[in-house]
């Protein structure tokens, strides 16, 4: 295209004296049938968009957005993780060649080269051919990059027990103390078997809080005996009747807590 400087214009206007403009190829020159965008094609796009929206809303309804407990900077045991689409960068920084004294390589050089290359792709891959088999270098580099990103993401995500992490970090409003019925026969059982890990207010100490759970009586009985996640089996020592009282006490306290909110 012509550069701006030597251009001549028609009088005091923006119309160039010589009309050499870049005009994209008219679609009627392409083989096959064209279709009017408005309204024919737009109607079909609208339908495709609606189907997509229904699928998206099903996802939203099936899986409510997660929320953990309020930020607690003193929680030294918390395992920090970024959102899933940053996991590959996070994982990269765990390798020896990309951490400690090589931190700059992992944090700056490698992502910089990858994303810089992506951005400058049109200037690195200048050949005329558009088909992938006409440009083997750029295509294979891209495939390599995709494989690396998927693999790093998998490596980072597969070692995390996501369900246990969510379970240990349930959203409980700060300062919301539930009234614990210490007269309940279940509380005595709780005191003997569970209090040391789950706290006097069911607020959680070494183990997670027991407020805000959605377990049934039967499920709690099973967990108390068989354990779950990091909780080993055999924590409960007592009779079947005491186990029943304990589970009913925990469920009742949870129902009470749910009503208070």
């Amino acid at each position: 295209m012509k550069k701006g400087k030597g251009m001549k214009f028609v009088g005091d206007s923006r119309i160039t004296a010589e009309k050499v403009r870049f005009i994209p190829k008219d679609y009627s020159e392409y083989p096959g049938k064209t279709e009017a965008f408005w309204p024919n094609f737009l109607l079909k796009e609208w339908l495709a968009g609606s189907v997509f929206l229904v699928g998206f809303l099903c996802l939203v309804l099936a899986h409510p957005a997660p929320l953990e407990g309020p930020a607690d900077p003193t929680d030294a045991a918390y395992l920090p993780l970024p959102d899933w689409y940053f996991l590959f960068l996070y994982q990269l920084l765990k390798y020896k060649f990309a951490s400690a004294q090589y931190f700059v390589i992992g944090a700056l050089v490698m992502p910089g080269l990858a994303f810089g290359g992506l951005m400058l792709a049109p200037f690195l891959d200048k050949g005329k051919g558009r088909r992938p088999n006409k440009r083997p270098i750029s295509v294979s580099l891209m495939l390599l990059g995709i494989i690396a990103v998927f693999w790093l993401t998998w490596e980072a995500a597969s070692h995390v027990d996501w369900e246990a992490k969510a379970e240990e970090n349930r959203p409980i409003p700060p300062g919301s103390t539930v009234e614990i019925d210490t007269e309940d026969p279940g509380y005595a059982v709780y005191e003997n078997n569970c209090l040391s890990c789950h706290g006097g207010q069911l607020e959680g100490v070494a183990g997670p809080a027991l407020i805000g759970m959605e377990y049934s009586v039967e499920e709690i009985k099973q967990i108390a005996v068989e354990g779950i996640g990091d909780m080993p089996p055999g924590q409960f020592n007592g009779t079947e009747e005491e186990l029943q009282q304990l589970a009913e006490f925990i469920v009742a306290t949870n129902e009470q807590a749910a009503e208070d909110h």
């Binding site: 968009g49 996070y90 951005m119």
Partner: protein
Amino acid sequence: MLQKIYDWVDERVDITPLWRDIADHEVPEHVNPAHNFSAFVYCFGGLTFFVTVIQILSGMFLTMYYVPDIENAWRSVYYLQTQVAHGQIVRGMHHWGASVVIVMLFLHTLRVFFQGAYKKPRELNWIVGVLIFFIMLGLGLTGYLLPWDNKAYFATVVTLEIAEGIPYIGEMTKTLLAGHPEIVGAQTLTRFFAIHVFFLPAALFALMAVHFILIRKQGISGPM
């Protein structure tokens, strides 16, 4: 009636060329899934835009309840999630939309890349597109902190540590983002909120405008 209004406006500001640019054009067969189903790969860009619109709208409604302050941020999200009618759905749309938009952007980028559609004359639009990708990642990064729960807080601490590790400009970058060289707290939250809600969307809108104007000006790349 509509025609009359159109004519009245058109007579004064000549909107027909604008209308022609936006709507009155032909869609070639090779991008039309109705003719050739494999052309659905051309939908990824449009779907990215669609999810972006969902993000803008749901985000606007979220700010009606959200309070960017360390005492109340978590509580306001918790209230929205548990008490407000349809709050869970609006927050769910924004949460899942943030992931879906990244997936769609990724697929759109792959489509353009493997078809070699970024070659002359479309180099500039490719660069604009990659910049949009970066902006989206920035939106994801800053938005992740806003609920001020444990995962948000600790992810941000790690992010800021990584920023701090950059030689020469690391500490400046960290202070700029966090509002303080040491503390990740109230200032960090308000800065991330401002970046998430004002700075990055402004950049996103400008880049999207350029992206679309260039598409209309250059047309869709031809069949392979």
